[in-house]
Symmetry: C2
Subunit: 344 residues, 2 copies
């Protein structure tokens, strides 16, 4: 086998010359579009194989205008919630021949803008955004416009319950239903006094959970208090919040946490304080990430169907790409499922 000269890539012209046909014929043979005689087709494909020929993607892109590349921006891929969605998404995306660029925006709003800008320059075919500014209660008009405008050029899909204010389609977990499942489960188990921790009134998802919790608790007759402390979302937040809660008796029967990281922290603080979970105090989480099942006392949580979530994100984005970003800005909700474990 002759090796192509290193550095010089094989092109359709090389193949065309060697066989004595035109580049157009080679192109047809390789792409499988248009007529080519069987004889020529065979010769061309054989030589292409031999030279290990790959059509130059840029040239193809330049022609088609598509990159078959998608941008995916998360705050931090080390957060298993994002990692899980990404993993499932990538499966579907690569199934359709898309490659995905994964960006960590580090919860930095300026950086988000920069990254979106470069994704735009890169001319990806579509963009998925999770977290960051999407969840801010107070959000600069400019940060909204940026995404609205971007969506005119490149279809965007937002993992947010209020994707519509950005004029984009959205996919999000049904947090209200999640709270509902958890509180009704606790109610059935006979728990009466519940405290909700780990959120803040600066972030949409935690506000929605809070509102849902309040109205459901009222409906089923549970005594619910919301205690937002300084730290939010994290293991640390859960740990500190639980410490604060245990400063005053009587303790609540159960502590509902805004997510599983908070729950893991709360669980640890409870154990350190010498309490038994769930006998002395019960704990619930949200999202069903690794943190919830890895704990020695596994945590009851509202499970996200990540497979469905990732598929929905891809499907919606794909549809929007087909429609050149003209997909309406409706939000698809992913139904959670109650996962009962040892902590309740």
């Amino acid at each position: 086998l002759e090796e192509p000269i290193k550095g010089k890539n094989i092109t359709i012209y090389d193949i065309a010359n060697e066989i004595g046909v035109s580049a157009a014929t080679v192109s047809r043979a390789i792409s499988g579009k248009g007529y080519v005689s069987e004889a020529n087709k065979e010769k061309i494909l054989a030589l292409a194989e031999q030279y290990n020929f790959r059509p130059n993607t840029f040239a193809q892109n330049l022609q088609s205008g598509f990159t078959k590349t998608i941008g995916f921006m998360v705050p931090h891929i080390g957060n298993m919630y994002f990692a899980n969605v990404y993993y499932e998404f990538e499966k579907w995306a690569s199934g359709e021949g898309y490659m995905t660029i994964l960006l960590n925006a580090k919860d930095n709003r300026e950086l988000e803008s920069k990254l979106l800008y470069s994704l735009n320059e890169k001319r990806v075919d579509g963009i998925v955004i999770m977290g960051g500014r999407l969840d801010d209660v107070k959000i600069k008009k400019q940060y909204i416009n940026e995404i609205t405008e971007l969506n005119q050029t490149i279809p965007c899909l937002l993992c947010s319950s209020r994707a519509d204010i950005f004029g984009c389609p959205g996919v999000h977990g049904d947090d209200k239903m999640g709270m509902d499942l958890i509180l009704r489960h606790l109610h059935e188990k006979g728990y009466k006094n519940v405290v909700l921790i780990g959120g803040s009134d600066h972030y949409i998802p935690t506000i929605l959970k809070k509102q849902a919790a309040i109205s459901i608790a009222e409906e089923i007759g549970m005594n619910l208090k919301v205690k937002w402390f300084k730290e939010v979302f994290s293991y640390e937040a859960g740990y500190r919040s639980m410490e604060k809660i245990l400063e005053q008796k009587p303790y609540p029967d159960v502590v509902c946490c805004i997510n599983d990281y908070v729950a893991a922290g709360a669980l640890t603080a409870a154990i350190k304080a010498g309490l038994r979970v769930p006998e002395d105090i019960a704990i619930t989480g949200h999202d069903n990430v690794e943190a919830s099942w890895i704990m020695p006392t596994q945590i009851t949580t509202a499970g996200v169907n990540y497979d469905k979530y990732g598929k929905m994100v891809f499907d919606q984005l794909f549809e929007s790409i087909q429609k050149h970003g003209k997909l309406d800005s409706k939000v698809s909700l992913i139904e959670p499922k109650l996962v009962v474990r040892e902590s309740t």
Copy 2:
């Protein structure tokens, strides 16, 4: 401000026509390379700004041959070891203007081949590979050749201690030193009988740890047994292995786990069995991922400096890109650091 017509992208020709200069001049003004009169430059940049003009990346790529894109293949981004390295890598990569395509190979050797193939087609500027076939003791010649050949076209960087057999540069944690740190720490603490679990003789990294453990234990005079059970690497593996170990008395003083997931499983099994950690039995992990510090009994582990690891991976790959893949196949080891926690 006039909006460009939707769908029709602004090109240097549009700008050139409107101002009455040639496309070449516009190109020079925008790229900043070559001479342009101040007067023209100003007009051009102003109009570019107004139209929000972005040079078409494909056209540029077609010209330059570079994509400023890197491919990064891991078995599963939901494993925090990979997520941590990726996160740090991406930071440095985007600092240098590279975007990174993240691929999950799902520990499927065939899929790995496919993904590498498409990365090749995509003409990324460089490729990072973690896990998968790199760690197999028995590896098909074809799987080795694939990477060796790929590295001729696209510089590859392997996160493996034996990158050299693929003819590629490598970066890897110094597992031998990690075992050393852990065993000496245990020795100092007075532990005598240690069992190593969670690995298998089918995977290079666990074999290296095993060999290191055996020779170090002998050197410092500890009694070490290696117990590989059927399952490996995972929380489940740790849980089952610990169960097996607790079937027979006397228990070892301490169980060393091949990684933190295994350690988390082992810890949980020990707690379920009514043992106190570390009083009744001590446990250690490896890698310092979330699983090690999130447990209510935090796990002593060999900490990877992920920041340094990610930077080294990028630096080496970048250097290899500069040298057109002609970087020698030496492996850079990242020094671990002992992280002492509650489990010992």
